[in-house]
Symmetry: C2
Subunit: 223 residues, 2 copies
DNA sequence: GAATATAGTGTATTTTTTACACTATTGAAA
DNA sequence: TTTCAATAGTGTAAAAAATACACTATATTC
């Protein structure tokens, strides 16, 4: 009839050509010294999604990020102290937007750190399952909905966009076919601007044309 | 930190060429006399999915049905008495398997009844939203995963199968293209048996070849 | 045996997806 | 200032998948 109520958040960020996930190191039993997904209790007078936003803000200093509910986990054995229901969300961050300040040390959390997806250690509780499921969901989702843009800064190159797809799908894509397809969608705005600070031919920058983008995908409901 | 914990279940059944949903009429405040999704509290020592199975069994007498978690709803205002978190599931029933005995009258539930999807009245709480979302999920899901079979008896005709697709997708499909595609998948077993009791040419019956079917779709994870 | 109602079938066209390799441009190093 | 290194940027042909479309076959009922 009653349960403790928490939310956990799989925070994805894309940089250096790789998808990363933000983990925190626990400083409390159970699972002291283990890495875990950022999560916390939902206050009794707080909306669930606000709790997620709070966690995100506390951990990264960012607001207005892409959020999607993943799944509710309520197993009786997921926590030694009895049932703790958690609703897992995943968040996609445009890392470049601001320099992200990672959460400082607290009594219960030693540090927060970005891990490339393939270097994530074993996690506390059932968080390995949660992470795995969110990657799978992301993978299915990116095939229908261009959520890739949620992981990129406002201005990006086509190669960066392709790298996001590749790191989520876990396979390489053909450059020419990828560009042809993306440009064909018609929601990319070609800018009169190129990349800066690279030691080779600079790539053209693109922007998402949100109006055209939404028109095309307004029927793809997110939940 | 704490919340009341319930599950609600959108029970889909297919008969007479139409997708139906099972609703119960409330006999208790709030929303007395309104129709609602079957749902109930999750006992403190009970696994969430077992609670859903319990509701299904109590309402229909069926076990071993297809179940999939839809979404967790936890809005502070969804219930007048304060937050009641509900995890919504949807179930697909093979109605023909057994004659279904609908739940008898109880103190809190006057009756249970099948409604064709387009004749569902306004529902209690946020159940209209829940129902709408599950139809949308079903629609997205049927495009990738052949869950259609979960709604049909063991032996079925291609026309029945097509009707399931059409009623979930909400549009008509081309008969020849549909058959071509389904047969091409290779997981339909053609039986030496035809429909009985129809006043016209009897259609051939088919069966799902579960082995081939699973081989093809084992990578499509369900959650 | 005529009427009715649904079953069952094939081909041509269009669209989408895939496979594939070279030239262009920039900054850095020699 | 030339060369090197690194990535940007581009088109075409073939294969596969999706779509459009209409008639004959068969069982039942009257």
């Amino acid at each position: 009839m009653y349960t403790t109520f928490t939310v956990d958040c799989v925070i994805f960020g894309f940089y250096e050509g790789e998808l990363h996930v933000l983990l925190t190191e626990r400083n409390e039993y159970p699972f002291k010294d283990w890495w875990a997904l950022p999560g916390f209790f939902v206050n009794n007078d707080e909306e669930m999604e606000d709790a997620v936003k709070r966690i995100l803000y506390e951990n990264t200093g960012l607001k207005d990020v892409f959020l999607d509910q993943l799944y509710a986990f309520a197993g009786l054995k997921r926590h030694p102290q009895g049932r703790i229901l958690t609703v897992a969300y995943y968040a996609l961050l445009q890392l470049d937007k601001t320099k992200i300040k990672l959460k400082p040390v607290t009594s219960y959390m030693r540090q927060a750190k970005w891990f490339p997806l393939n270097k994530v250690p074993d996690l506390a509780f059932d968080h390995t399952t949660i992470l795995k499921q969110s990657v799978e969901k992301l993978r299915r989702r990116i095939a229908n909905t261009p959520i890739a843009f949620e992981l990129l800064p406002d201005k990006f190159t086509l190669t960066q966009l392709q790298l996001v797809y590749e790191s989520i799908l876990g396979r390489e894509l053909d450059k020419r076919n990828f560009r042809k397809k993306m440009i064909n969608y018609g929601f990319l705005k070609e800018l009169d601007e190129v990349q800066k600070g690279v030691a080779y031919r600079a790539a053209r920058l693109y922007k998402l044309d949100k109006r055209k983008f939404l028109k095309q995908f307004q029927n793809t409901i997110t939940f």
